[in-house]
């Protein structure tokens, strides 16, 4: 396995009207090709910022940062599932899913076909011609996810993609997501505020500190795959969870103290 994403001592300082603000203090991480890595941390610690920078939509102000491209020239390097969904209200569900393909100049016939396949996979075929304003929040999240998957990027960057879902749909989509990942074996960087979700999905959980965000610890998750809902009741799972929670709770506490 080769290293796909590498950050060494990366920093992000925003210059605002009130002065400098360090959003990311020290991001040091290494993600192998085909790995599913989850990032957890208190809100405001810089997870979204980190993801946007890795996506190439912003830049670090210090440190070494490197993303290794694959051989294939046509495959996009990464696509993001944004925390705010960011699906375009002026495009139908189908057109949203086909957006990346359209931008890459793929013919209408082929991109429609691909988009329909993905809609089928997540049970949204019926809503292909609806506009985002006409579907529920959960559906929008699924559209945002398959918009990224349909574009077939080397790296999938997801920012709390299931954040707004109720517990039941969340479980269902998590399982679905694992299945999709199993089929495609993409490199995934997945930001979440749910520790359970991180352990359930990831090969590895990275713990981020309260602001200014640092990656303070890396937990390999050795729980066997394929995983299912029952995985969450195993001893391995609960042990890992209490181990990480011990540290995470400290950071969440610090973050809340910061805000006061």
């Amino acid at each position: 396995m080769s290293v796909k994403i590498r950050c060494q001592g990366c920093q992000k300082v925003y210059r605002t009207a009130e002065g400098e603000f360090t959003a990311i203090g020290d991001a040091t991480l290494q993600i192998e090709e085909g790995q599913f890595v989850c990032i957890v941390g208190p809100s405001g610690c810089g997870k979204s910022t980190l993801l946007k920078i890795i996506a190439g939509l912003d830049y670090f102000t210090a440190g070494e940062f490197d993303v290794r491209h694959g051989e294939s020239r046509d495959q996009p390097i990464n696509n993001v599932v944004f925390q705010e969904y960011a699906i375009f209200p002026w495009r139908t569900v189908l057109e949203n899913v086909a957006f990346g393909l359209e931008m890459r100049g793929i013919s209408k016939k082929i991109r429609t076909e691909i988009a329909r396949e993905w809609l089928q996979k997540v049970g949204l075929s019926k809503f292909a011609n609806y506009f985002p304003d006409q579907i529920s929040g959960g559906m929008k999240q699924r559209v945002a996810i398959i918009r990224a998957l349909a574009n077939d990027p080397e790296i999938l960057l997801m920012d709390e993609p299931l954040g707004a879902l109720d517990a039941q749909s969340r479980l269902l989509i998590q399982e679905e997501l694992l299945k999709l990942w199993d089929e495609t074996k993409k490199t995934v960087l997945y930001v979440t505020h749910s520790l359970d979700e991180a352990i359930f999905l990831g090969d590895e959980v990275l713990l981020m500190s309260a602001n200014p965000g640092r990656i303070i610890k890396r937990y390999p998750i050795t729980i066997e795959r394929p995983r299912s809902i029952n995985t969450m009741n195993t001893g391995d799972f609960t042990r890992t969870r209490s181990e990480i929670w011990e540290k995470l709770a400290v950071e969440v506490g610090r973050s809340m103290a910061n805000q006061q």
Binding site: K52, A55, G56, L57, P76, N78, N79, V80, F82, E84, A86, I87, F88, P89, W90, R91, T92, F99, G100, E102, M103, R104, F131, P132, D133, Q134, R147, N151
Partner: protein, 345 residues
């Protein structure tokens, strides 16, 4: 049926009638008309409100439509009665029926100076058609007051709109351009455009022709729409631009696939406002100096003190406003398919 409510109504309605009888015999309906009217409207409104709650769900929609139609008719009837019995001065508030009659007169009888009518002697349409075909009919419509105003307002609107949207996009997307023009634009924006009409007149070869009138409408629309378009572009949520970039939309692709559709709804709502302003400007300009047009007609009838014709002119302006707004809504319907379900709510 809600028994409590219906009992309440059966008390309220007789009380309402009784109150009016008392008011009538105390001569308040002659001396304190306004007060009585306000009291009546409030009580009547309350009764209708309660009555609406008694309507079975099945008839809800139709009863709502009934109220929206009936209430204005009721008000107009009150106006009619009051004016014809002299309770309000018919010189300033002529009866609605008289206004309608004079609207008919304005359409059918050529007015002395412009020698045309609101719609340009429509009774000659058939004759002209036989003589000169469709072109002749068109000429007839063209000579009318409505067409004169409509033509000026639509031309001015379009001539102002197109460059405004272009400049607005440039200013919205490029900070340097925005900084260069922002202060000039805001300064001119607050200037009432009618104030520059005399200067605009001087600029044109024929100061009394249609060109300066169209130009002043165009200028007002231009400044308003440039600012509005700029704001629309700046207000697109940053996350859409990021998503566009992430999925490979840059340059023109980003413009046509993200920035343009992202700002269109707000541009359209700006157009609604600009259209209203264009109408104000053109009517004001026609008050000042015009040989025809609805503004001219209103002002002329003020000079000869024919109030019911002034009102008829006002109705015509309203109709022009409604018509142009409808056309705009239709364009919006076509241009913004994703807003269709909320457009005609």
């Amino acid at each position: 049926m809600n028994p409590e409510k219906s009992i309440k109504l059966s008390v309220q309605i007789p009380l309402f009638l009784l109150l009016n009888l008392v008011l009538y015999f105390l001569d308040l309906w002659t001396n304190q008309v306004l007060m009585c009217l306000v009291i009546d409207v409030i009580i009547f409104g309350k009764i209708v409100n309660d009555a609406m709650k008694l309507v079975p769900v099945r008839y809800k929609k139709s009863s709502e439509r009934f109220v929206t139609l009936l209430f204005p008719i009721l008000l107009l009837s009150i106006w009619e009665i009051f004016a014809s019995t002299g309770k309000i001065n018919p010189t300033w508030f002529p009866e609605p029926t008289k206004i309608l009659a004079s609207l008919w007169e304005l359409i059918t009888v050529p007015e002395k100076f412009s020698e045309t009518t609101l719609l340009g002697r429509p009774w000659m349409i058939l004759e002209r058609y036989q003589e000169q075909g469709l072109e002749g009919v068109w000429k007839l419509i063209e000579e009318g007051h409505v067409w004169a105003t409509l033509y000026r307002v639509v031309m001015g609107f379009v001539i102002g709109l197109v460059p405004a949207v272009f400049c607005g996009f440039l200013m919205g997307m490029n900070k340097t351009i925005r900084l260069m023009f922002d202060s000039i634009l805001s300064a001119i924006y607050v200037l009432p455009k009618i104030a520059i009409f005399p200067i605009v007149m001087l600029v044109f070869a024929d100061p009394f022709g249609d060109a300066p009138r169209i130009a002043v409408v165009a200028l007002s629309v231009f400044f308003m729409m440039t600012i509005h378009t700029m704001g629309a572009v700046q207000n697109i949520e940053g996350i859409y631009i990021l998503a566009g970039h992430n999925y490979g939309a840059h340059g023109l692709k980003l413009f046509f696939k993200v920035i343009l559709p992202g700002s269109l709804p707000s541009i359209f709502s700006g157009m609604r406002v600009a259209l209203g302003m264009a109408l104000i400007v053109i009517i004001a300009v026609e008050f000042l100096r015009a040989e025809k047009g609805v503004g001219y007609l209103i002002y002329y009838n003020w000079e000869i003190l024919a109030p019911e014709k002034m009102y008829a002119g006002l109705i015509t302006v309203m109709l022009i406003g409604i018509l142009t707004t409808l056309v705009l809504k239709l364009l919006q319907y076509l241009a913004l398919p994703w807003k269709r379900h909320s457009l005609f709510k």
